[in-house]
Subunit: 202 residues, 2 copies
């Protein structure tokens, strides 16, 4: 019989988080974390807020993060200040979830972060996301050889997702990833045995 | 006849920078930039300092960066605070050199940043560098499709370098890259026509 897991989903009120929460709560205990709403509030740009969340939730088996704010906009507007949106959000936000969360996660637990095809397939207006993704992917590979107690870490890297048609024009030629494909990517990360992998759900 | 270029080398007083400065000044005008010493001082963690450097140097044809401070040390010591060393140094430092330098570089000029094999081949103690490298590489690919006036951008990604034997034990099995190989990597970036490439000089 499959073990019932306690799964924290950070970004649970977003497009991806909602689908994953509904999918995984069929068989597992899901803790919905989000900046607003959900079961528990967390600001991933604050280490204090992250620490507080883990203290409140207690021991858990898996953490999914689908929250990754970055600056989207014209290259000409991109400066140090705008770049910080992705640095503090998708990059340090996710890395701090792991650096802090490793002290609360159960042995054999897993972290599943979110990156995206932009790491290797850039698109105009998304340089901040390409950089944040690249950092998270490099970190995932490095953390995989450092984490103890058989704790695993992977990233799921979709192209544009089907539920975000407002982005389709920015990703010419990209076949949108379905919510089901995305879910399968996270299933591979959480219920499989791999670590340090960048999982493409397409 | 090959055009004489004005080449800024950031990190010119370091191991790599010294070799590259000596090599390129045979045929080009080299401006040695460093945190201390050199022809001009620059603190790449400060946008004001970067802006000031470009104002003083004026128009140029190529910028090489070999400066990339990151946190090296045990995973257990790695927290948000230590992680910032690579975020502000190797990551934002290099990205800001490009975001600001694009307004001073001549048409057809080039940026050549430094990353490293750790992006895809992690080693214990170097998670901060893996993340910083990954970010810079993602940024290089994205910037390549954004930069105007035929300005190019690449990264050179060596393994451990021969002049840094103090690091050999951290990179088991890595054949050290010679200074000459490293130089050839930068030659490919500066004098070739490629853009958005991660050049492995080994």
């Amino acid at each position: 019989m499959k073990k019932k897991m306690k799964i924290i989903i950070v970004g649970a009120t977003g497009t991806m988080g909602k689908h994953l929460s509904s999918a995984f709560e069929q068989e597992h205990e899901v803790v919905r974390a989000a900046s607003e709403g959900g079961d528990i509030q967390v600001d991933i740009t604050s280490t204090e807020s992250i620490e507080k969340m883990f203290k409140q939730v207690g021991a858990f088996d898996a953490l999914i993060c689908t929250a990754g704010p970055t600056f989207v906009g014209p290259w000409k507007k991109l400066n140090d200040n705008e770049f910080r949106k992705g640095i503090e959000g998708k990059l340090m936000g996710q890395i701090n979830l792991v650096l802090i969360g490793q002290h609360y996660i159960n042995p054999k637990g897993s972290f599943s972060l979110i990156t995206g095809a932009l790491t290797h397939e850039p698109q105009l207006n998304f340089a901040n996301a390409s950089a944040a993704n690249g950092a998270v992917e490099g970190f995932v590979r490095a953390a995989a050889i450092e984490l103890e107690n058989s704790i695993r870490i992977n990233a799921v890297s979709p192209t544009v997702i089907e539920n975000s048609p407002q982005y389709f024009d920015f990703f010419p030629g990209d076949i949108p990833v379905t919510m089901k494909q995305l879910e399968y990517g996270f299933r591979k990360s959480i219920f499989g045995a791999n670590t340090g992998q960048i999982i493409k759900p397409h």
